[in-house]
Amino acid sequence: MLYTRKTVWPLGIGVIMVAYAYLVQSGALADLIKFLGTARHVGEMGVLGYTFGGIAIVAGLWQLLAPPKEEGNADYFLSMVGGVVFIMIVAFIVKWGLDPLMGQWGRAAQPTLGFNFASVMNLNYVVMGILAGIIIVNVFKVPGWAENGVRLSRLGLKTGVILLGALYSLAELAHLGRLSVVLIGVFVLGSVGVVLWMGARRNMPNSMTGVLSAGVGVCGVSAAVAAAPVVQAKSTEIAYTIGTILLFGVLCMFLFPIVGKAMGMGYIQFGAWAGTGILNSAQVAGAALAFQPTGIETLKVAEIFNITRVLFLPIIVLWLAVWYVKREVGAQQVDLVQVVVGKFPVFVLGFILMFALSSTGIFAPAQHYQGSYFDNSDKAMTTKDKDGKPVSKLLNDKDLATLQGEAGKVQRQDQKAALQRLVENKKLMSIDDDDTLRGVVNAKLMSKAANDVLVKAHRAVRHTAKKIAMFRDLIAWFFTFGLVGLGMQITMASIKQAGGQPLVVGSIVGIVKALGSLLVVWLLVAETI
């Protein structure tokens, strides 16, 4: 069959992309960018706009003026460009338009509603990307010239999962308490087991059960994508899993802090519970901050538990590969080596490879945490002004006078001591001191001027590895591309076909996990791990 169609659309989209990039770079859209608060994306707007716009114009002209007349690789690969640029222009709208706009509306409605609906409902580019795709396919249909290229979206998701490995490092593992590994291990593996058991009892398709178990057991989008190929899951099943997790997560984000406060939980207890019981990473952070708005102790514990879950991903994928072969083939004995060689997804190995590479410190200092690291050495505490002259980042006499004048407002012993060390050394001396004083800033114990000095001291010692920051941006783009394309493969008919079973099973297992982890944390976790 001949894939390439004679159409003006890829060329048209290319012209729009290039024009947009030009308008952004020339400053003509400065007011709009300021309104949306997307100034930090101006660079990528130019790079991506010109790159994809240029590709679309070249391929679009070829497609329009001299389309291949016979089947072959030229026809097949040329026809993919239309789908890629179609997804990309939707992704541009979602990431640079809808995502920040929703954030604006959420903040604007906060005084009236009492909460930020955009943050609570998780209305970020992940959700809006899938929704945009679903709306396009069900309301307008994917145009014929884009159909072939839309099938590249899964490649985007897989690439995103592999690159995700670069954000973590072995050094983080050293910080994980044994209890967090055991607790998470029991609940991750337990949740997967329960979903598989319930799915079989309720006659759900093996592919749906498999992908739901990974999503509910580990966490969200990455896990669902990683598990999907080994159980041959359809796009609808991946989307259903993501939907179930996010819906359940919204409930948890509201309920966990209320229950935690009612039970008088400590920071570490609540962080452990939220990190174990809530299914989605962003919602874990939301619940932890809602529980303790005046400090970050709870958030840090919750994040440690959350990271531990991601590290179980390869184990779960292996388990599902064996389980699926057993269920589908009906084999009693499964040759593990044969399953790994034949079924284990290479891109999950890629995730492990990137994790290993990142752990060597080639992308950021080996002790980095998602690209952020602490460094208060003399070299790090010196920067250069625009004339190239060295400028010290140590606190100056005025800063020190401001802090000393308000030191009496700080009552907690650990906070007092950290403040004292900061004043004596003119810089933060350890990660712990940095964390402690961020709690002082969040609690607004001192005046704005004093808080500004603390923020200045924090920024002087905290550095973001540029390479990891680049990886984060790229991962976000690959996921946006993949999710918009995934949404474009989900029709209303396929959603009806999946029925309400996944939502029921996911919610039951989610509730059991939340209650089970509450009980275990309440009984076993003291204020220190």
């Binding site: 590249l152 897989k158 796009s235 997804p345 493969q489």
Partner: protein
Amino acid sequence: MAEDKFDRGSALTVFTSDRYEDVMALVLSLLIALLVYSFI
């Protein structure tokens, strides 16, 4: 999108097998990592 619309790959992928798609994702990721390592 119906399965029979495409004579190469499936309704979900342009590649002939999942393994092929995985390898392509891995190659793409390593290429990106190399570029990030070299130029950023």
